[in-house]
Structure formats: C-alpha cells, structure tokens
C-alpha cells in the first residue's frame, strides 16, 4: 500500500481536533506546525531529494506572505486572487533565479541562497512605502474561500491542514515517479544523470520553483491567519530553522521533513518558558543530530525499526 503512511497521518490530523476541539496545542500550535510542514516538505524536495542546499528559503515564504498582504490591504484584491498572484510572482522569480544560482555548487550555492534571502529581507525592511518597513503590515483581511470567511482557530486548523495534506500528497506522488527518481539521480551523480538523458539544469530549475511555490503558498496562508506580517518572520534565522526541520527529521523523506517540522514547532513551544535557553538548545540539537544521527531522527528510527523487524520479525525478507 503505497500511501498507507499518508492515510494514517491524515487520520491523526483529522482525529486530533475532533477529540480536543478547544485544546490550544492542537488548534493553534497544530496549525503553526501545519504551515511548517508545508515549508519543510517543499524545502526537502530541493535539499533532500535534489541535494541542493538553500539557506534563503524564508525569502519565498515572505514573498507569498507580502504579496497577499500588500495586494489585499493596499489594492483591495480578493484574497484568493492575491494568493494566486503571490504564487505567480514567487514562481517566476524562483524560475528566473534558479538557472544561474543552481549552477553553483556546495559552499558557493550556500552563499548565493543566503545572500538572496538577506537581499529580500532588506527590501522588506527598507521599502517602507510598500511593506510598512520594520513595523510590518497589519489589518490583513481574513481568507475568503468563495464566500466563506475563514475565522477562528478551529477553522484555520482545518484550512491549513487541508492545504498541508494536499502538499504532502503531491510531494509523495512526485518523489515516487520518474520525475522524483530523476531528482535523486541528479543528487547521486550529475554525470550519470546526464548520460541517462536528464537535463540537470531543467530538473534543478523545476524543483527549485516547486519548493518556492510551496513556500509562497504557506506564506499567503500565514499572512491571512496572522492578519499581520513583518520582516522578522522571514529573516535568516527562519531560513536556518527551515533547514533544521528538514535535517532534523531526515533528508530525502517527506514524512521525515514533516516530523522535523512538528518536532521543531513543539520545541519552540516547550522552550517559550525558558526563552533565554532557546538558542542554546537549538544549537546543541542541530550539532548533535548532525554528528550522531546524520540521516535524521525520523529516517534513523525508521531504518532502525526496519532492521529490527528484518532480524526478529515473523517473516524474514529474502
């Protein structure tokens, strides 16, 4: 059963608010985790499967958010149209940027994506007449889905989780197709991938644009959910946290990225009380996971249980 894991995951997502409809951790933290999952799953397509690092992914998240915020507050666009425009703008920028930026490798690519993220952040802070500057933009109207205005924690939970499940489903499909195998091939050996007839420039461009689109989508939802955006939500720290989610759960695994997103969201919540220690713990966690469990928490545990199952399970494979 190819999508068994997906259905189990979807069942949990639906079950949680039915059991605890007023629990803050479910509806509010859960919705926040949902947005993070969209972001991490998209970034994982780029990092985990295609093997291209991005230290500036918050920029695309921010572009989607600001597109929705500016178009709805300053131009009075309907929210769905603004969302579509945000996707179009972000997708186009990512597409144009992808060719030159993904020619770079390793540390040079890290530098370029990092620089791009900082440039976008500076523009958010400085282009005050559009973005409201460091203070941000408030008064973003609620998301209007064909007449239904999304309001209240539980409704937002529903909308974000539906969007998240859609993104996870799309990603699982992509990864398990020839398109996904071509991506992993680019990661495995660019020489061999080219000899199989894969246009690696095109493959990288497409995955870069897809992961930017996912991020912009999450950004639009975020802007409407919060009714407020400011540059602080899209700075370098956020980019690094997104990378953390992907590697924490385990690269090249969609559910790994989702687990990483959930884990980091919960960690933030747990450390709210010890605000001063948050950085310390975040830093130690990153180092420890990368040193001792470089394949990530989820993938590491998954492989471990598979191995145990193979050794002691009822029917031994092969």
């Amino acid at each position: 059963m190819r999508l068994a894991g997906f259905y189990a995951f979807a069942a949990i997502v639906v079950l949680l608010p039915t059991l605890f409809p007023t629990n803050y951790f479910v509806t509010v933290v859960g919705a926040s985790a949902g947005l993070h999952i969209i972001l991490a799953v998209g970034l994982n397509l780029l990092m985990g499967y295609a093997g291209q690092i991005s230290l500036g992914h918050a920029a695309f998240f921010g572009m989607g958010a600001y597109a929705s915020a500016i178009l709805t507050t300053r131009f009075g666009w309907p929210s769905l149209l603004a969302l579509a425009a945000g996707l179009l703008i972000t997708g186009t920028i990512a597409w144009l940027l992808a060719r030159p930026i993904l020619r770079l490798r390793g540390h040079y690519l890290a530098m370029a994506t990092l620089g791009f993220g900082i440039i976008v952040h500076v523009m958010m802070v400085q282009a005050t007449q559009w973005t409201g500057g460091p203070d941000g933009l408030a008064g973003i109207p609620p998301l209007n889905l064909l007449g239904w205005s999304v309001d209240g924690d539980l409704h937002w939970y529903g909308v974000i989780m539906a969007a998240m499940l859609l993104i996870v489903w799309l990603s699982l499909n992509l990864v398990d197709s020839q398109v996904g195998r071509a991506l992993r091939a680019v990661h495995g050996s660019e020489f061999a991938a080219q000899m199989m007839g894969i246009d690696i420039g095109r493959a990288k461009t497409r995955v870069f644009a897809i992961s930017a689109l996912f991020a912009a989508f999450a950004g639009s939802l975020f802007a409407h959910q919060q009714a407020f955006v400011s540059p602080d939500s899209f700075n370098l720290t956020v980019s690094v946290e997104l990378v953390t989610m992907v590697v924490l759960g385990g690269m090249a695994s969609t559910f790994g990225a989702a687990c990483g997103a959930i884990a980091l969201t919960l960690l933030h919540q747990g450390l709210v009380v010890f605000e001063d220690y948050e950085m310390l713990v975040h830093g130690i966690l990153l180092m420890a996971v990368m040193i001792f469990l470089p394949q990530g928490l989820f993938v590491g545990l998954d492989q471990g249980t598979r191995r145990l199952w193979a050794a002691f399970g009822p029917t031994r494979l092969r």
């Binding site: 540390h107 040079y108 620089g115 690269m251």
Partner: protein
C-alpha cells in the same frame, strides 16, 4: 564631494579590513578541512564580548585583549575537537549545518552570559579624530588598518616562509599525501581552527570601540567575512583579503552615495553577481572533475 568620497574610502577600508580578517579565518579553516565554518562570526563576537567583560572586571585593556583572544582560540579548538572531528568525511550540507548549530550555540551562551544589551570598548588611543586632507579618521581606524596589515603579512609569511605553514598548505591540497609524508594532519587541523578563531577575536576586539557589540554582533560580520572568502575564491587566503577590502569599499560607497539602509542588500547583490559570472569566485581555482 571629493572630500566626502575620501571619507567613504576611509570608512570602507576600515570595515573592509575587518571583513578581510574574518574572510581570512574562513579561508584558513576551509583550506585545512574543507569546512566552511559558519561560527566564524561568533569568534569575532566572543573576542569583543570577552574583552569587554574582562575590562569590566578590572583587567587592563592590553591584558583583556590578550586573554579574550586566548579564550576564543580555546573555543576554536573545542569546536574542532567536539563538533568537526566527530563528523569527519560528512557531506558539505552536513558540515554547514553543524557549524551553523555551533554558531547558534555560541550565540546562546553569549546571551546567557551577557544578556541582550549592547556593550563597547574604549578606543585604544583616544577618540580625538585626526584630520587627513578634509576627511576625519578615528585613531581606532588606524589601529584596525595597522593590525590587519600586520596580521595579513604574518599569515602570508607563515604560509610562504615557514615549514609549518607549508605543511598546512599541503594538507589542503591532499590530506592523504600530507599524512604519508609525515605531516600530523590532526595537529594541522587544530592549528587552523585556533589560528582563525584568534584572527576573528582580534577583529572583534579592534572593531568593538567603533561599533557596539552584542551577542548577535557576529552574525552579519560572519556573513560578510564568508562573502569575502567566496568572492575571493574560497580557499585562497589572499583572495579572501582582497575580497574583504573590496566588499568594505563597495559597502561604504553605496551607503554614502545610494542608501545606508540598502548597503547590505547591495553588498550581497554584488556577491551574487560575481558568482553568476565566476561560479568559483574572482581568484578561485577552476578545478575539473574527473569522470
């Protein structure tokens, strides 16, 4: 107008010297271990903050500076031992994330020790500005410039004149071959980490009297240093120095002539442009991959 331009140049070279020192640290560690150390900026912050703290405890400035540098070197060695060494042979992405983790950790420690406040050091030799052909130069800028030139000269001589420096270079070209001719690669790695932590700390102490320092002060300096190393072609120490000065000048000029708010954006736009045309930096090696 001309005087103003001269003023921008002075500012640019001062800032550029710092970027050069931080970039040099990046290049040293990259050469020895193929790792880009994203905690390099935190060495700068640690140097400045430790010196400030020691001064506050009553130590005289020169002693505080020396002890702070030693503390940073120790941190650099610990970083190598406990974060880099256990993950040897890991992929580029993995090592990048480990050093980012180290940077966040060090920032977290600084936050606990010194809080969120801004701190500063008194200038080394007063703050009476020196007038130089219409531009004013702070004595501290001369300190920055002088010490940078001295350190860059020493590092250059170290690599070209001493056996130890050549051994370190040999490790960067081919670690196995270096080991085979009897070079202790482990010691060389520690040397590189210690050296670049020390360079970073000195940069931090030099700049502390000009700008305020805080637990976050290393982030942007680290990124600019990384940019300098990348523009210069990573792994090329003197390229990093040139890249740093270039970046500092560009930043000061764009801050003065265009907009100070956009200076960081312009600096990184420059880096991106360089990379789009020269994917391995201005002075980098264009190594061919074997199939």
């Amino acid at each position: 107008m001309l005087e103003q331009l001269f003023q921008f140049l002075v500012t640019g070279i001062t800032v550029g010297s710092l970027y050069a020192l931080v970039g040099l640290g990046f290049a040293l560690i990259y050469n020895a271990s193929d790792v880009v150390n994203f905690a390099q900026g935190e060495f700068v912050m640690l140097g400045a903050m430790t010196a400030i703290a020691l001064l506050g405890m009553g130590l005289p400035l020169p002693l505080a500076a020396i002890v702070a540098t030693l503390v940073a070197i120790l941190v650099g060695l610990l970083l190598e031992r406990f974060a880099i060494e256990p993950a040897r042979g890991a992929s580029v992405v993995t090592t990048i994330i480990i050093t980012i983790g180290a940077a966040i950790f060090l920032r977290g420690v600084a936050l606990l020790l010194w809080g969120k406040g801004f701190h500063t050091l008194p200038p080394f030799s007063g703050d009476a500005p020196i007038h130089l052909g219409g531009a004013t130069v702070l004595p501290q800028s001369l300190w920055v410039l002088g010490v940078t030139v001295l350190l860059v000269g020493l590092v250059h001589a170290f690599f070209n004149r001493t056996l130890l420096g050549k051994a370190l270079l040999a490790c960067s070209f081919n670690r196995v071959a270096a080991q085979l001719v009897g070079i202790n690669v482990r010691v060389m790695l520690r040397l590189a980490y210690g050296l670049s932590a020390g360079l970073g700390a000195i940069a931090g102490i030099l700049i502390a009297p000009i700008t305020f320092s805080s637990y976050e002060a290393g982030v942007m300096l680290g990124l600019k240093g990384f940019s300098a190393a990348i523009v210069g072609g990573i792994g090329n120490p003197m390229g990093a120095v040139a890249g740093g000065v270039l970046l500092g000048l560009l930043e000061a000029l764009s801050a003065g002539l265009i907009s100070s708010g956009y200076k960081d954006a312009i600096a990184f736009l420059f880096v991106l442009t360089v990379l789009f045309f020269e994917p391995t930096g201005l002075f980098g090696h264009k190594a061919a991959e074997r199939v």
